[in-house]
């Protein structure tokens, strides 16, 4: 920096201090108004039913002071870490090293995931958590096709998860079909429902599309609850068959896998099998999505997200393009649902609430829309982080929300914010997220 630079910097830092102080004061004032009734006065029913109340102004003052201090702290952190105008001087060698490290994340993560059952063989908790994370990775990758690539905001993704789960549960319990036959059927049925949802929402955009997909998710759940004769209503479906390794059950009996292999039976075998099953399904989702992106249909999805009018001018049938995006995403959701049913052995409508849709959508948005690695990392952070904060009890959601707010401040376009081109002549440059559109529904 040249010599005259410090002077304006000092002047602006003086201004900044006043600005930060003012901003924090406003935050504290808002907190005072909000908390004065929530914390300042405590009411309870007295012994004879009359209203008893007492004040807690000490706690109130503490909370307001906390907001004031925290607000200053956050603002200072933002100044220090956020988008600053000065250029950061990082040696080129370090930058290339970082780029290499970034490229190595995906393979390393995959190798680690494959080895998880070997490393944590004795820790049932970690294996179960791994299965849960992988289920959400798969759901995230599935929804990524609809939201990340085609730019259609879908708030009812859990509907397809439910369709897949109930397809497998009902086909298996009523007709005794095996998991491996039901899996594609569940995918096809979910895709069919994806198309059914797609038709009425084709003309809708943005907020309207989001509302209708949200309603669709609720409709499916309510139908499941009320159609007692088929789905068992709120009681759910129980006794769903466990998956078999191509016909060989993982049971302690004589015809079980352990007996066939001549090893001692352990219930962990089934968990490890489930782990690799969902890993395989998730990798299939990933592989298909990566392939699709490089095919005309995938490019049309991304073009649709960028500019729908231009797509129509180029002779692209936007109707079928949107429907295929819905169907593909729904199909993967259906696969994940079938896996969920076979893993749990019991399903009920309670597993398919809006919260699941919101969680999967949060994973996609947090990961960086359209990025496969980003979605995987986000699922790991969200589900893993959720478990990590379990010890904090009732503050868990608070800490979690705080972490998400921080992330959105520093990485507003998600963990992996750039887009990789699907085809290139010489070099594949990552495209900055500033240029990539989010789609309008």
């Amino acid at each position: 920096m040249s010599a005259p630079a410090p002077e304006p910097a000092a002047a602006s830092s003086g201004l900044d201090a006043a600005y930060i102080f003012k901003k924090s004061l406003i935050s504290a004032l808002v907190a005072l108004v909000l908390f004065s009734l929530m914390i300042g006065i405590r009411t309870e029913a007295g012994p004879t039913g009359q209203l008893v109340y007492w004040t807690r102004f000490g706690d109130l003052a503490l909370m307001v002071a906390g907001v004031f201090g925290g607000s200053i702290l956050i603002e200072l952190l933002r100044r220090w870490w956020g988008p600053v105008t000065v250029t950061r001087v990082v040696p080129a060698s370090v930058q290339t090293g970082l780029a290499l490290a970034r490229r190595a994340i995906a393979p390393l993560l995959l190798i680690f995931t494959v080895l998880v059952p070997v490393i944590f063989y004795d820790q049932r908790y970690i294996l179960d958590l791994g299965i849960l994370v992988l289920t959400y990775v798969m759901l995230g990758w599935g929804l990524n096709v609809v939201v990340g690539l085609a730019g259609l905001l879908d708030l009812g993704y859990v509907a397809f998860y439910a369709v897949g789960a109930y397809s497998y549960a009902l086909l298996a319990t009523n007709f005794g079909l095996s998991f491996w036959i039901c899996l594609p059927l569940a995918g096809i049925l979910a895709a069919l429902w994806g198309v059914m949802l797609g038709f009425p929402v084709l003309r809708l955009r943005g907020d309207y599309l989001a509302i209708v997909t949200l309603a669709f998710g609720e409709i499916i759940r309510l139908v499941i609850i009320n159609w007692q004769s088929l789905t068992g209503g709120p009681n759910g479906v129980s006794g769903i068959p466990r998956p078999t390794l191509f016909g060989i059950p993982l049971t302690p009996g004589d015809n079980g896998l352990a007996a066939k292999l001549g090893i001692e039976f352990s219930p962990t075998h089934r968990i490890v099998f489930l782990f690799y099953l969902i890993l395989g399904l998730a990798l299939l989702t990933n592989w298909v999505t990566i392939r699709l992106r490089r095919l005309p249909i995938g490019r049309a999805w991304e073009a649709l997200r960028e500019d729908e009018v231009a797509c129509r001018a180029l002779g692209i049938n936007t109707t079928t393009t949107k429907l295929t995006a819905f169907a593909t995403g729904a199909m993967f959701g259906g696969f994940a649902g079938a896996f969920f049913a076979t893993r749990q052995g019991f399903i009920s409508p309670e597993s398919f609430t809006f919260q699941e849709s919101a969680l999967v959508l949060a994973i996609v948005v947090l990961g960086g829309m359209g990025s496969q690695l980003g979605v995987a990392l986000a699922a790991l952070t969200m589900i893993g982080g959720f478990e990590l904060f379990r010890g904090l009890d009732q503050y868990r959601m608070l800490v979690f929300g705080f972490a998400m707010v921080l992330l959105m401040i520093w990485r507003p376009r998600g963990l992996i914010g750039h887009r990789a081109p699907t085809v290139f002549l010489k070099h594949s440059h990552a495209i900055s997220s500033d240029l990539v559109k989010e789609g309008h529904g």
């Binding site: 049309a300 009018v309 231009a310 180029l314 070099h427 594949s428 990539v436």
Partner: protein, 277 residues
């Protein structure tokens, strides 16, 4: 009307509520010629374009497109993407509509969507990586490379379209429209916002499109020097009606045209006169 017209618009009318944007307009665009549609601001030129390219449904009137094979298509009966897919009419937009987050090459690949969809066996052959799909994809990349070379953007093929300079974006949009292999190319103010050098390059590009690809061009333009230089036939509109038609020279000397421009905007009228000297 000439028998060898690629597009003949007959009594086209477009009403928006009580406003008549295009009133009883008839004209023809000749095959392998450049036809310009000019007129003051608000004359209804872009509305005509939107009717031809299926973005608006015309209130009345017919638009007949005749392909080289002799096949005739009534454009008013098609809509939306079918105009581009079946009638082979491509268009560009007044405010550039590229896919900004995709590379220049990807933009040109998206334009070849319909051909590639068939080649990829509606995605299924492509998913398993069939050899026929691979060769079709390579041909599409070669086609895109050819166009990138023609518009001088081969070096920037892998850059995001949104990062290109304005003039390059204009030319890329024309190349993208040409990648759909159109019979009729409709350009909405292709020279808007270009400097002298860039609009000279644009004229050259349009000439070469006409000469090498046998495409007919219909364009809306404000830049009179471009219109006078490249167009074979000029149609002048004002208040939704045709007020003059003919060769650039005839139109330039037409008192009605000069009056329309003078009445509308002094600067444009001066531009009309000056471009002739």
């Amino acid at each position: 009307m000439s028998s060898d017209s690629i597009l003949s618009v007959d009594r086209l009318t477009m009403r928006f509520g009580g406003i008549i944007a295009v009133n009883d307009l008839s004209f023809a665009a000749e095959r392998r010629k450049i036809t310009a549609l000019i007129g003051p601001n608000g004359a209804g030129k872009t509305t005509v374009f939107n009717c031809i390219t299926g973005f608006y449904r015309a209130s009345s009137g017919t638009m007949r497109l005749t392909h080289d094979s002799g096949k005739q298509i009534q454009l008013e009966r098609l809509n939306d993407f079918r105009i581009s897919k079946q009638a082979k009419v491509a268009r560009t937009f007044q405010n550039i509509r590229l896919f900004p987050g995709m590379t220049a090459l990807e933009n040109l690949m998206v334009a070849q969507h319909n051909a590639l969809m068939l080649a990829s066996g509606l995605t299924f052959l492509g998913l398993i990586g069939a050899p026929s799909w691979r060769s079709a994809e390579n041909r599409a990349i070669d086609q895109a490379r050819l166009w990138l070379d023609r518009i001088g953007l081969l070096e920037r093929a892998d850059d995001a379209a949104g990062n290109l300079p304005y003039g390059d974006q204009r030319r890329l949009e024309i190349a993208r429209a040409m990648c759909t292999e159109p019979a009729l190319l409709c350009l909405d103010e292709p020279a808007a916002g270009l400097n002298t050098r860039e609009s000279a390059a644009l004229s050259e590009l349009l000439f070469s499109i006409r000469a090498d690809h046998g495409a007919s061009i219909l364009l809306i333009e404000h830049d009179m020097s471009v219109v006078m230089e490249i167009s074979d036939h000029v149609v002048v509109m004002d208040y939704g009606m045709k007020i003059a038609e003919g060769s650039p020279q005839d139109v330039r000397d037409d008192p009605k045209v000069i009056a329309a421009y003078l009445g509308a905007d002094e600067q444009e009228a001066i531009a009309v006169m000056e471009s002739g000297t």
